[in-house]
């Protein structure tokens, strides 16, 4: 198959948008945290927890949207632990974040083993089904890609718009961004930097967990160990690539997912068959590193990112 044939096929772009969806949720979540000044390295573990919590809730009889809510709550709980330690106590965001990833991952695996002892292949749930939006899904090329996805993908896109509006068009968003740029100014306005940052981390972590849940409830229909497989770390790179802006982060996620979908297709060509499959599997991680290098000079990092705020201290 020719490269152009691939790039012009609707199924390719449909796959790209599907691959991008969990990344969009988690990248938005990380972006909210970082915009308020907190690096959340708990992302990888929180995605694992969300993937399990949502899937388990549906498996034990809840509706699909109930499962999404459970995943979100699970993520918010880890966000609460993370932000309690990093915001009022100002502990190292690196150490706490990695600790949260370990805690969330091991709690998830523990719960999985307790809930399903001795299973060789995890049970399946009835996952979200693609919903074709009338008229729009008949558009050429983008119609199928954008408008015949599962409801969770639509939610991801809606969320990008919502987060943009809140960040740039509301007083809350202004305060949140200021908490990540100049927390003293926020405090001088009589607002609570602690409250803003904790809220951002809690909600951001909820979004990350929904990103994880997308994997078990929309992309696939069951839970596997190691299924998140570094996606959380890739999302941290995507936040940088998107210059901490929701719209650009969305483009970054789609671009990234398109490359991922492309490498899967090239693997199946005669050319790809001669290259070890590991080379293809490396691509997403290499691409993330390249994105970080490309953006390193231009990115405007929130000035107070990773700087704990202690009122009255200069």
């Amino acid at each position: 198959m020719d490269l152009f044939d691939i790039l012009l096929s609707a199924s390719f772009w449909t796959a790209a948008i599907r691959i991008a969806s969990p990344l969009i949720f988690a990248t938005l979540g990380e972006l909210i945290c970082e915009r308020a000044g907190v690096l959340n390295l708990g992302i990888e573990g929180i995605m694992v927890a969300g993937a399990f919590a949502g899937w388990m809730a549906v498996y034990s009889g809840m509706g699909l949207w109930g499962g999404v809510a459970v995943a979100m709550l699970a993520g918010m709980m880890f966000g609460l632990i993370h932000s309690t330690l990093t915001v009022p106590f100002g502990l190292s965001q690196h150490v706490v974040g990695l600790g949260i990833t370990l805690l969330a991952t091991s709690l998830t695996y523990y719960a999985y083993r307790l809930a399903l002892p001795e299973v060789t292949s995890p049970p399946k749930i009835t996952a979200f089904k693609p919903y074709e939006i009338p008229v729009l899904s008949d558009l050429p090329l983008i119609g199928q890609a954008l408008f015949s996805q599962t409801p969770l993908t639509y939610l991801a896109f809606v969320l990008v718009g919502l987060v943009s509006v809140v960040l740039y068009r509301t007083p809350l968003g202004l305060a949140l961004r200021a908490a990540g740029e100049n927390p003293s100014a926020v405090a001088a306005q009589g607002l609570s930097v602690t409250g803003l940052r904790m809220g951002a981390v809690i909600f951001g972590s909820g979004f990350m967990a929904v990103g994880g849940a997308f994997l078990t409830m929309s992309a696939f229909d069951s839970f596997f160990f190691e299924m998140v497989n570094g996606r959380g770390w890739i999302c941290i790179a995507l936040v940088v690539f998107g210059a901490w802006k929701p719209g650009k982060a969305l483009l970054g996620a789609i671009l990234f997912a398109a490359f991922d979908a492309l490498q899967i297709r090239i693997q199946q060509t005669p050319l790809g068959a001669n290259i070890p499959y590991q080379v293809f599997l490396m691509m997403p991680y290499l691409l993330s590193i390249l994105a970080l290098i490309a953006m390193s000079r231009r990115a405007e990092v929130p000035a107070a990112l990773m700087v704990p705020f202690n009122k009255g201290e200069r």
């Binding site: 009022p88 502990l91 600790g99 805690l103 523990y110 083993r113 770390w233 490396m282 993330s288 202690n310």
Partner: protein, 349 residues
């Protein structure tokens, strides 16, 4: 709410928070054991017995602690200079890779010549692997946390590629594993008949060596200065970037020794499950040791004990071994908080 330093901390202030952190960790583990339908006292008893209850258990703990001392030192050295090396896992595999490349017959030397050469080359390989993220940090300002994490995935895939290609053991029944090391490339046991190899002794020596470097050399002083305040160190004329690169070389080399010691001392060949996350666990080892290289030994023994004990407990009464990981994560989070609370108090306004 804000933090207020405590001018003259009392004895209770400096000892109580860490003690409470340990008690709370055990308490949380007990609740989780009860959730699994087990008696928490039985679970804790079995973990302790499994970690140190017999000569066999104790040796198993020492063996498990060996790679953790190396990765713990690697992290401690890096974090002290605020170089966030989360890539000990990749560097460990780099060391293991060099060990099987050089130790499967390429260098037909006797042990006294072969082993030091392999160890040094392994260290070099680990250092090279960390060099990429370190240079990206120094040259482009790319955050090393994310790059070292991503390199772990890339490097493991690279190892997988080699084990299914050029390094594949032709006699391996199709499994992705390397050939076995020649006898001269194996680390001997310290005492005949006891299942403990010289890698453990090497780990202890490495810990002392790192302590000496940190406490008694200019480089050690510079590393601490860069870690405490980069701008001030720069102002004082310390070549910050050069120090960071040297730190990376040392840190990568130490993590690689874990791979060398595991392959040459324990496993004898390279497989994809050589390390069950020793590189990541090294972070907890280093943090619980407060980044002190000598305390890393105790911390690694403690953590190895929990893992070995939990394995044995799980075999006995079926509570998932992930309980050990939960305990470590909880201990890590509570301990960093407890240590802060020995010096600060949180006051309401």
């Amino acid at each position: 709410m804000r933090l207020e330093p405590i001018a003259n901390p009392t004895l209770a202030r400096t000892t109580l928070p860490p003690a409470i952190a340990i008690v709370a960790t055990v308490f949380i583990a007990s609740i989780l054991a009860m959730v699994a339908g087990a008696n928490p006292f039985a679970v804790l008893g079995l973990i302790i017995k499994g970690a140190a209850g017999s000569k066999f258990a104790l040796l198993e703990t020492l063996n498990r602690a060996t790679p953790l001392i190396f990765t713990g030192l690697s992290v401690a050295v890096a974090f002290r200079a605020k170089l966030w090396n989360i890539g000990a896992e990749a560097q460990l595999y780099a060391g293991a890779l060099i060990t099987v490349v050089l130790g499967t017959g390429m260098l037909p030397w006797a042990s006294p010549a072969l082993l030091p050469v392999i160890a040094l080359c392994a260290m070099l390989a680990g250092a090279v692997v960390l060099m990429a993220p370190a240079l990206l940090k120094v040259r482009f300002g790319v955050d090393e946390v994310v790059t070292t994490l991503l390199f772990n995935f890339i490097f493991l895939l690279f190892i997988s590629l080699l084990l299914e290609g050029p390094l594949k053991d032709p006699m391996g029944m199709g499994w992705p594993k390397s050939q076995r090391l020649i006898a001269e490339a194996r680390l001997p046991r310290i005492i005949d008949g006891l299942r403990l190899h010289w890698g453990f002794a090497l780990a202890l020596i490495a810990a002392v060596a790192v302590w000496v470097i940190q406490q008694r050399t200019t480089l050690g002083y510079e590393m601490r200065a860069v870690g405490l305040n980069k701008e001030a160190a720069d102002f004082a004329g310390i070549p910050v970037n050069r120090v960071l690169i040297k730190t990376a070389l040392l840190s990568g080399g130490l993590a690689a020794l874990a791979g060398f010691s595991e392959v040459a001392g324990l496993k004898g060949n390279l497989t994809l499950d050589l390390s069950p996350g020793f590189g990541y666990t090294g972070i907890i080892v280093a943090m619980l040791a407060l980044l002190n290289p000598l305390a890393v030994i105790a911390s690694a023994l403690f953590i190895a004990g929990i893992f070995v004990g939990a394995d044995s407990m799980s075999r006995a009464i079926g509570v998932p071994t992930y309980l050990a990981d939960i305990m470590l994560a909880t201990a890590l989070l509570l301990m960093v908080l407890a240590i802060l609370l020995t010096r600060f108090r949180l006051v309401r306004e």
